[in-house]
Symmetry: C2
DNA sequence: CCAATTATTGGACTTTGTCTAATGATTTCA
DNA sequence: TGAAATCATTAGACAAAGTCCAATAATTGG
């Protein structure tokens, strides 16, 4: 929620901190995500980084986003069957998903009081828990 | 988990109960889902209903699954960016998702003790809460 | 500065899912 | 019953998201 201002230099530092070589394209993609502080899809990011003149290819955007996810710089949010959203906020949190507008909003993990967890199947470890609260504007029909 | 045996007649009754005209194809698709009691994707269902000889088109499978979801006969499960799973179990429950094998398992809603819910944004209603516990076999690397 | 590695690229390709226009099946009710 | 209206199915074209590939470009380390 805090509208922290990021510079491209911040991005370089951030990438290095995650063991990612800070190339031009990667800096721009990171900058798009972190300066907006929003949940963007790959095609939105592609559009943003190419607003002035085409600078980054589709392949690079996908490569880079997957790399960022792998290096835990960002998180994938899977709520819409048709596209993945990328979330620059890696602090533990969950999501409201407006099924009408497609808009995603953060929920602080602390706002969920989960006092009991289900028994894990044998031999597995937990990767993470994703909670999606699907919402709809009052009065808008299903 | 209970391995209830379903007949095609059960499917006809079930479809009628949900206001769905029980056609041949719809009966077969419902039967595939309910007799397996598993989470199937559209292409798996297409394969199942056409095992003996081709009887149902891709368009019909998609039409029918969307209709079933709309009529709340089944539920969509969105965990994998590449495909939707359909879940014949409409009882309130959540999911384990094995990120390595792609396998889905049910979690009874009662096994989660959620004692606090986040404040909803103004003017919206809740459609439902989806909880995905992402798991991975112990020892298998990320 | 050269060689080796690493990154980017356009475009072909794959997969999931939708759309369309035509056909086929059912229902309605005069 | 039988003609019209409605509803369901179909093949195949299409769309969109994402991957793959082989070639080129940039970067890095010695």
């Amino acid at each position: 929620m805090n509208a922290k201002m990021y510079t491209r230099d911040d991005m370089i530092e951030l990438l290095r901190k995650h063991g990612i070589n800070p190339t031009h394209q990667r800096i721009e993609i990171a900058y798009a995500l972190f300066s907006k502080q929003e949940h963007l899809s790959a095609d939105q990011i592609l559009a943003i980084v190419n607003t002035k003149h085409s600078e980054t290819s589709k392949a690079t955007v996908y490569n880079t986003l997957n790399l960022f996810v792998e290096k835990k710089l960002i998180r994938e949010v899977i709520v819409d069957p048709s596209k993945v959203f990328y979330d620059p906020n890696t602090y533990e949190h969950h999501h409201f998903y407006d099924v009408v507008s497609g808009h995603l909003t953060d929920i602080d993990a602390a706002d969920f009081k989960i006092s009991g967890l289900p028994q894990l199947p044998a031999g597995v470890i937990t990767e993470g828990i994703d909670i999606i609260v699907r919402i709809r504007p009052q009065g808008v029909a299903a």
